[in-house]
Symmetry: C2
Subunit: 134 residues, 2 copies
């Protein structure tokens, strides 16, 4: 734990929404989040989207782009959301964050034809999970 890397204190709305996503076994969609936090006083879509934007920015959650849904980061080293990879089951829609040193190293070092390197990426793998394969 680096003291310089101050733990980002969440605001009330951010904390409520992060807790909900973090508890969820599956990615949550914005309006489903909204529905679930209305009893806590968060009434409008914008309140949800603002918290989501911030949580994504600081790397506490990730957006699954192909599903328009959000998942808590389970990659402890992930302070900033800049290099993400997921596996997605096309039947049950289970999503798992992939943390593979080899993969992240390969992608972080990947250069395109012009020799350009990219520090930020998002990768989504699709297939069938163990359960759904049987």
């Amino acid at each position: 734990m680096n003291k310089m890397q101050k733990e980002h204190a969440l605001t009330k709305n951010q904390q409520i929404i992060f807790d909900l996503i973090d508890k969820s076994p599956e990615p949550m969609k914005a309006y489903s989040i909204l529905f679930n936090v209305q009893k806590k006083g968060i009434k409008a879509p914008l309140q949800v989207y603002r918290a989501l934007d911030k949580l994504v920015e600081i790397g506490k959650i990730h957006k699954i782009e192909s599903r328009n849904a959000f998942i808590a980061c389970h990659n402890s080293s992930c302070q900033v959301a800049k290099a993400t990879a997921f596996s997605i089951c096309e039947i049950c829609e289970k999503v798992t964050e992939i943390s593979s040193a080899g993969l992240s190293k390969y992608l972080a070092n990947f250069k395109d034809k012009d020799g350009m390197k990219y520090s930020k990426y998002n990768l989504e793998f699709f297939g069938l999970c163990k359960k759904c394969r049987t």
Copy 2:
């Protein structure tokens, strides 16, 4: 050209929409497509989405998930949309399809912790393009 691999004949709507996307120097969004083809008799969003779905399915176009936009496939070998990679400039939004044998081989062979292999994936790299870097 394999005779068994019949060239998919596009229907009228599919052809109109493919031509438009193919001509476009940048990814196009569904409602922008709709606006542009209304003079050709395509009047409703659903007509556009149906054509887009089919075109994606047969690999003639790809969806840029992080942008909700569509780009024509420029990877001649891409008969089916199952393994895609793009670079996206965060300033000018220029999108380029990456065709790297090394990358696609690496990803096609990637196994997660459970030994699971995925035949389908989508990868989006973010950064600054040449022009925007200067």
